[in-house]
Symmetry: D3
Subunit: 195 residues, 6 copies
Amino acid sequence: MTSLPISFLLTLCLLVIPSLSSDSDPLQDFCVASDFFFSGLGIPLNTSNRNGVAVAPANVLTFPGLNTLGLSMNNVEFAPGGVNPPHSHPRATEAGVVIEGSVFVGFLTTNNTLFSKVIHAGEMFVVPRGLVHFQWNVGKGKARLITSFNSQLPGSAVLPSTLFGSMPEIPNAVLTKTFRTDDATVNNLKSKFAV
Amino acid sequence: MTSLPISFLLTLCLLVIPSLSSDSDPLQDFCVASDFFFSGLGIPLNTSNRNGVAVAPANVLTFPGLNTLGLSMNNVEFAPGGVNPPHSHPRATEAGVVIEGSVFVGFLTTNNTLFSKVIHAGEMFVVPRGLVHFQWNVGKGKARLITSFNSQLPGSAVLPSTLFGSMPEIPNAVLTKTFRTDDATVNNLKSKFAV
Amino acid sequence: MTSLPISFLLTLCLLVIPSLSSDSDPLQDFCVASDFFFSGLGIPLNTSNRNGVAVAPANVLTFPGLNTLGLSMNNVEFAPGGVNPPHSHPRATEAGVVIEGSVFVGFLTTNNTLFSKVIHAGEMFVVPRGLVHFQWNVGKGKARLITSFNSQLPGSAVLPSTLFGSMPEIPNAVLTKTFRTDDATVNNLKSKFAV
Amino acid sequence: MTSLPISFLLTLCLLVIPSLSSDSDPLQDFCVASDFFFSGLGIPLNTSNRNGVAVAPANVLTFPGLNTLGLSMNNVEFAPGGVNPPHSHPRATEAGVVIEGSVFVGFLTTNNTLFSKVIHAGEMFVVPRGLVHFQWNVGKGKARLITSFNSQLPGSAVLPSTLFGSMPEIPNAVLTKTFRTDDATVNNLKSKFAV
Amino acid sequence: MTSLPISFLLTLCLLVIPSLSSDSDPLQDFCVASDFFFSGLGIPLNTSNRNGVAVAPANVLTFPGLNTLGLSMNNVEFAPGGVNPPHSHPRATEAGVVIEGSVFVGFLTTNNTLFSKVIHAGEMFVVPRGLVHFQWNVGKGKARLITSFNSQLPGSAVLPSTLFGSMPEIPNAVLTKTFRTDDATVNNLKSKFAV
Amino acid sequence: MTSLPISFLLTLCLLVIPSLSSDSDPLQDFCVASDFFFSGLGIPLNTSNRNGVAVAPANVLTFPGLNTLGLSMNNVEFAPGGVNPPHSHPRATEAGVVIEGSVFVGFLTTNNTLFSKVIHAGEMFVVPRGLVHFQWNVGKGKARLITSFNSQLPGSAVLPSTLFGSMPEIPNAVLTKTFRTDDATVNNLKSKFAV
């Protein structure tokens, strides 16, 4: 199957599979015969949760075959009215296609301009790398997106819980001054994210 | 302040203006207010053609909002028995999700090993950058894939037409010797791709 | 010599001219004899504003000599108690050195863990690319940081104003559900950022 | 020779030498004192084989000193009439210089245009990353090329054997439909590549 | 908080911390909870040496938290008249800000043009990647710079000692011919750098 | 649809037009139908000059077809005893093959270690990106190298002329202190490079 000695391949793999090097071009076809097929996008997903949204990620942690390949995808499903909270991906641009339903998709530029549109099955959006964005199911039924990222592990900073639910907490002095509000409001918001 | 002759500087700029920048990180949120939403994935597609497959691409040429963002996606639809011919993408890794149907997905490593599997709705595959691959609808009905690429313009070298249908033609001497066959076979194959 | 239609080539060039090249290595020493020295870091800065912080940026827009060089720097000054609001840089890792004063520096990982420390003159911090972070002057006097970024235009998503002061607004339905609060709270927060 | 403790260097090297991370800039001068000189380009090569071509590669597998350096070179020799089969390099652009003889060099764009020329000693060609290309010795005597690649391991998908000699085989249904031919022709081509 | 078994995470870290992969984007927030704060910029530095300059580096070897983050910084201090010798950084562009004093900063293009200026506190310079440059304290008192680099380990080829103090030595035949001088001069220069 | 003022957008484009894109992957097969074949490597070269060496470069300025392809090559010829002066390439790793003759090849690490070897026809060397290196023809006859670079325009800082022949000159105070010599020696060296 390959002319490389097995011992060499094993060495390669112990090193390569876990080594999170950068999202540049791969240096070989792939590490070894990891599985290049993944059934974990799990449809349908259970969207019975507070935000009415569920995400099945296919990234290097769930799908090791993506290692060094610079790409990942998600299956995102929404209950009626479900919202994928404002968040940003530190390491990737995101593009997505609506498979089912009608979704209000928005992102914010670094000068605080909102670009948004309601898009339907077969329509696509793109969110430039690192920008804050969200999706909201505005249709009558469920909605589903297939999204893609140009990183094997894009990461996600989910802003409501990052700002008000972190461990340890962000000091109130920082939040009250910059959100232009008071301790009562900040404490109330924090209380909603307390574990 | 510099000893570079003006003509040299002009040459530089003439070289630069047409040069497409690379699929690295963008240097700004985006270039200008292009539209970040795209309806051209066009479903359903017309798959009444010789190979029984149709592709709607969302790349920088069809969806200029992708410019500098390092990502593109395709909608691929198959008639029963349809085949996306063996091809490679010079500038991207490809990942894809089956939305409908059952698809035999295969790719070939640089040591001529075929990795393949029949995958179904909700299942995913990945093809490492630049490797030869194909998809074949082995289900009873139509099939549909959503694919993604980590380049804004991945390109596609479709091997049957590249090898036997190019303009000008690849000389028979090259094809007969390397495909280990004769002029009659090569001429017959070329005749099928003649415009 | 090529079958690309002229219109296709023109399209390419229209796409390319405005596209900022990426933060990879430069392809020449520099483009033309721009000035490689910059006096715009402007010290002292005026920190008499709501947050008690002022930033003088040296990026490709203020210092064109940085074009294609993949690096930028800021001078950041704080009044006593001043706070640089929670924000993220979509296109760069940030490192910084305290020149004067005592600063509480914090950043949040994508699993909502806060890493923070009070650092003093001569001490340094780093914020991995795209993560949410903030700085707070906890000393008695003014404070000053010199920060650097591995992009010629890192950009900054300043979260309080991005979330509650964007134009157009993020719909209340998105904010109330994901911040786990009510319209009154969201409207009150938005009112503080109204222009 | 270096101020790093040997133990640290050994650790580095066990990791770096086999770790095929990406072809970006190196992060250090080099791993350790691997040999930076290589005699394995082996001239003259034995070109007494079916295609009349032999390649001596200097890539990271044969010349470990190239590790992380983003470059490799080949020595390619041709018997009279020898042909380097149509192939593509998934991870590199290729450039080459004719050292001896007269070579018909061709590559195919993604819209199936053949660019080709007969070049002689001291003349050079370039093949953009990932495109299908071939070389054919059209001179009376032997021919020799020195080629270079902007990857430490460019890889090579050799199309005749990839398409008709893979293990396992590409199903006939895929090949007959897309090459627009019949099982007899496909079986005959496959038989020539059977091991 | 992650589904990875601890053993897997430990493996990750043993590999990632020392692995000097390339200066591209990180693939995760960071490796593990290395310290993201560094006090080693050490001010004031001892500049009582031959060149009257001292450098405290914050790179991946002194500040492991920078691993994979593509950025480093230095604190550079000068005695009156101190000179940072002509040198180049093989892996980074450098930018710097004068914190104290007046510094003559110069760099040389690849066509041997010197760009230079005397800059003062609050002023900035940039040196394009790989170009030869130097700094000279021309003020009455001490001087201090904060510099930044777009690599976690930029490296430095310090030309006087590289050319005349290497081990083993560069042969005189190479130096006399290319510096257009004689053995006596070369031997004299080498003698100053003999350990 | 965006709040960016037109003037800002224009500024962006003025910045962008002259910016050379980086040596990353191309975004298309190539820009336009430039010629992909180059006869300018010009052999034999005239080596009747002070250093006894001549270089014919195939880079993006002499061979525009290389634009965006991230690769260049040189033909380097030596008279007996000829020396290619100590120099570094700011933007590329170099690899080379001896075509004829016997060449002493050396490079210096950033800790001033010389790696060197005399290599002969068919042997290869590599110089990690940005390191100082030189070649010296130590054979009885002429020598020839084919070199390659992983940049379309690697640049070259030729140290003797950069240090002692720049325009304007590097101040003597910088050179005498750091080369540990006197004005007489520096002036003498500078006089040899005066135009």
